[in-house]
């Protein structure tokens, strides 16, 4: 088992080693290969439970790395990420569920990993991402002139509003006939309410999750190394100085927000189609947002590899502690506090893992 997509990215993106065109495509191709390897070699070898865990890891990596664009690169403070995840998840879930109902008469999975159903699913993931991005734009535009904690509170408020509204939706129709009787607008209001949106076909598999992980990591990395990303970083370091240097801070903040929301939406869509999930508004509230913030801070603000590794750790840890019953969350909470005290800058600080001493010979910060 390997930490798939970074492998491709990390090797191929070394500046100056290949022509620009190859440099753009190669890492993605390697990512795809590794995703395929996970799907066809690793998945069957480790069994359904660990495959499920790998899928969860992938989804959390997308969430953490995307939130990192806002909280890490740009230095803004969003604690409403689960709200975007919910928006994307519900949009994508509704799209596949109702399309399946209308086209195939039931929510069964159609075709294999590359079948017609999967095409619908991947499309739905992108739509989910776009809807979440639109939500990100709508929330970000007015509220990003707020600073620090206040922005955090508005994003938190947004997440809670999403939760309350989703709880108001009607039951999902169970049969194709019931679904056909609904107009598209009605479909948007029949999302399961407090019972949760269940019945979404299980399309999420290792291949597609890790393809999206590759995409997320590449975008995050490219962004960080680009002019665009430098503008984000400049806002984090000193907003006033950035503004003085001609960076349109509000516009860049909104952009960071929209990008992060897009990937949160994709992650939500992947989550919605995963085996064993019911989309439930109660569980996509601010506690979920906190979980993602914790991953970002634990990894180190702005560090892609840090966020990734923290996401892996924090997905595996509660699962490893499942046998500890009553004491599980206590141990988790204690570890959180201890890590923050022992390593306040997170695992890697603002750097990437390959810039740290065992790997890079250079010293100093």
């Amino acid at each position: 088992m390997t930490a798939s997509p970074w492998a491709g990215k990390a090797g191929a993106l070394r500046p100056g080693t290949a022509a620009a065109a190859t440099a753009g495509v190669t890492p993605f191709a390697v990512g795809l290969l590794l995703a395929a390897a996970l799907q066809y070699a690793v998945g069957p070898a480790v069994g359904p439970f660990f495959s499920d865990l790998l899928i969860k890891i992938g989804i959390n990596v997308i969430l953490a790395v995307s939130l990192n664009v806002v909280n890490g690169y740009t230095g803004q403070f969003s604690i409403g990420h689960a709200g975007f995840m919910a928006v994307g998840g519900y949009a994508a879930g509704a799209l596949t569920y109702y399309t399946s109902m209308l086209a195939w008469g039931g929510p069964q999975v159609q075709g294999g990993v590359f079948g017609v159903g999967s095409a619908l699913f991947v499309g739905a993931c992108l739509v989910g991402g776009l809807v979440a991005a639109a939500a990100g734009w709508a929330v970000g535009l007015p509220s990003l002139r707020l600073r620090g904690d206040y922005l955090a509170i508005v994003t938190l408020g947004f997440g809670e509003i999403v939760r309350v509204l989703l709880q108001q939706t009607q039951d999902v129709p169970f049969t194709a006939d019931e679904a056909r009787a609904l107009s598209p607008v009605e479909m948007a209001t029949h999302l399961g309410g407090s019972l949760g949106f269940s019945g979404i076909p299980f399309y999420t598999n290792l291949f597609w999750v890790w393809c999206f992980v590759t995409l997320t990591l590449l975008v995050a990395y490219r962004l960080k190394e680009s002019t665009f990303g430098r503008a984000f970083l400049s806002i984090r370091e000193n907003e006033i100085a950035a503004e003085a240097m001609g960076v349109d801070t509000t516009r860049y903040k909104v952009r960071a927000f929209v990008i992060a929301a897009f990937f949160a939406g994709v992650a939500g869509a992947l989550f919605a189609h995963k085996i064993g999930t019911t989309l439930n508004p109660r569980e996509l509230g601010f506690m979920k947002s906190f979980d993602i913030v914790i991953m970002v801070v634990l990894g180190g603000m702005g560090s892609i590899s840090g966020a990734t590794i923290a996401a892996v750790l924090l997905t595996v840890l509660p699962e490893a502690l499942r046998g500890a019953a009553d004491y599980r969350m206590i141990v988790y909470a204690l570890m959180l506090v201890l890590v923050m005290i022992v390593r306040p800058q997170g695992l890697f600080g603002i750097r990437e893992i390959w810039e740290l001493p065992p790997f890079a010979r250079r010293r100093g910060r």
Binding site: G11, F50, S198, G276, T278, E319, R322, G323, I350
Partner: protein, 402 residues
């Protein structure tokens, strides 16, 4: 903090390190499976004829609904002890592996996946809250392992597929029973409704009650909602007071109902409250006190019933836990016994055979009434109506399914 941004460096090493880390982590995840109730689970799905039979349980042992999970667990464990004391099933002992789902659907799904694919259980017992049973049930259905829910009353639970069963009645029936009782026995013409919109159980039961009640010619004076986590119901109760109903139907959990009763009385709303099986706990009367007196609710059983099964169960449970078992404990006990009964009848312990044996259950003498599994994998059984009188739920009537 310094502001160096990422520049390229030696990354090959990083890749190797990352790979090693991931492998190591998953190893650690696998190593953490110990604990729970079972020692070393050696049973395979399909039932190799040696070693203990492993049954999985998922429940809310922590979180808001922790008491539900704990009561159910106590009931299940009592059934397990009994079956093992009687020589097990075909000479094999039964072991239960329990996982906590914290009352979250995501955790419930993962717990069931883990029970089935890692621990290789032959059947699943769980959950109380319907939304969690649905999440877990879809996984069980996907892997073809039978699941018996002790107490999820929402109809959608068993609609998942042919592997999901339950031993309790369903909300439409419960709503019908309460509607009938309030319309025919209590002769109420107008009733107000106050439900928890955050709980699928509460919302479903409310809908079914209203449907039956209005069909019987009753009038709903006011329909009010709260959200689990609300502690102050004065706004809703003020609205209800203005509508002047003869009773208020509150299909919530006992944790809220006690407070609702107290606040209603403070606002001068003196009409009786009506409810469902979510009320069932000794804490209800403890919290509600005088305020809950004279209220009625439907339940799965009453520990005062004279049937032999009830007496025996109550005595055993009291000896072990020092308290009167609530309905959830009784249902957990029945779910366990019904499953073991099916295991004894099934030709093998494969998912198919076990599901077939479960659906063939007829007139099983459960503590919560005689259980027959119908074509929709629901239990057809009577409901009892209880009245809170003198600080105790008192048996009023049994209503048989028609």
């Amino acid at each position: 903090m310094a502001t160096r941004v990422a520049t390229s460096a030696t990354r090959r090493v990083f890749v190797q390190w990352g790979a090693a880390a991931l492998v190591g982590l998953l190893g650690c995840g696998g190593g953490g499976t110990g604990g729970g109730e079972a020692g070393g689970g050696g049973a395979e799905a399909g039932g190799a004829a040696t070693g203990p039979i492993l049954v999985g349980e998922f429940g809310s042992m922590t979180g808001s609904e922790a008491t539900f999970g704990q009561s159910t667990h106590n009931g299940i464990m009592l059934a397990v002890e009994e079956v093992n004391a009687a020589g097990g099933i075909g000479g094999r002992m039964v072991e239960v592996k329990s996982y906590d789902d914290q009352g979250k659907t995501e955790e419930a799904g993962t717990a069931v996946t883990r029970l089935i694919t890692q621990d290789k259980v032959v059947a699943i017992l769980g959950e109380v809250a319907s939304s969690l049973s649905i999440a877990g049930g879809r996984v069980a259905q996907q892997y073809g392992v039978p699941m018996v829910s002790p107490s999820s009353t929402n109809p959608q639970v068993t609609q998942i597929g042919d592997k999901v069963f339950r031993v309790c009645f369903i909300d439409p029936y419960q709503g019908y029973v309460m509607a009938k009782f309030s319309r025919e026995n209590l002769k109420y013409d107008t009733v107000a409704v106050l439900y928890d919109q955050g709980q699928a159980y509460s919302k479903g039961l409310k809908d079914d009650f209203i449907k039956s009640y209005t069909a019987m010619g009753g009038k709903i004076a006011s329909e009010q909602a709260y959200t689990g986590g609300d502690q102050d119901f004065s706004a809703q109760l003020t609205n209800i007071r203005a509508a002047r109903p003869q009773a208020v139907f509150v299909p919530g959990y006992y944790t809220d109902v006690g407070n609702i009763a107290l606040q209603a009385r403070k606002l001068g709303l003196e009409v009786p409250l009506l409810g469902g099986d979510g009320w069932d706990s000794s804490k209800l009367t403890e919290i509600g006190g005088q305020a809950i007196e004279g209220s009625y609710y439907s339940n799965h059983y009453s520990h005062e019933e004279e049937r032999a099964e009830v007496k025996e169960f109550v005595a055993k449970y009291q000896a072990k836990h020092g308290q009167v078992p609530d309905g959830l404990a009784a249902l957990g006990y029945d779910a366990g016994r019904l499953l073991f009964d099916a295991m004894k009848r099934a030709p093998s312990l494969s998912g198919e055979d076990l599901a077939k044996a479960l659906s063939g259950t007829r007139d099983f003498p459960g503590v919560t009434g005689t259980i027959s599994i119908d074509a929709d994998r629901n239990a057809r059984k009577p409901a009892v109506i209880l009245e809170v009188k003198g600080g105790k739920p008192t048996y009023v009537a049994t209503i048989q399914p028609t």
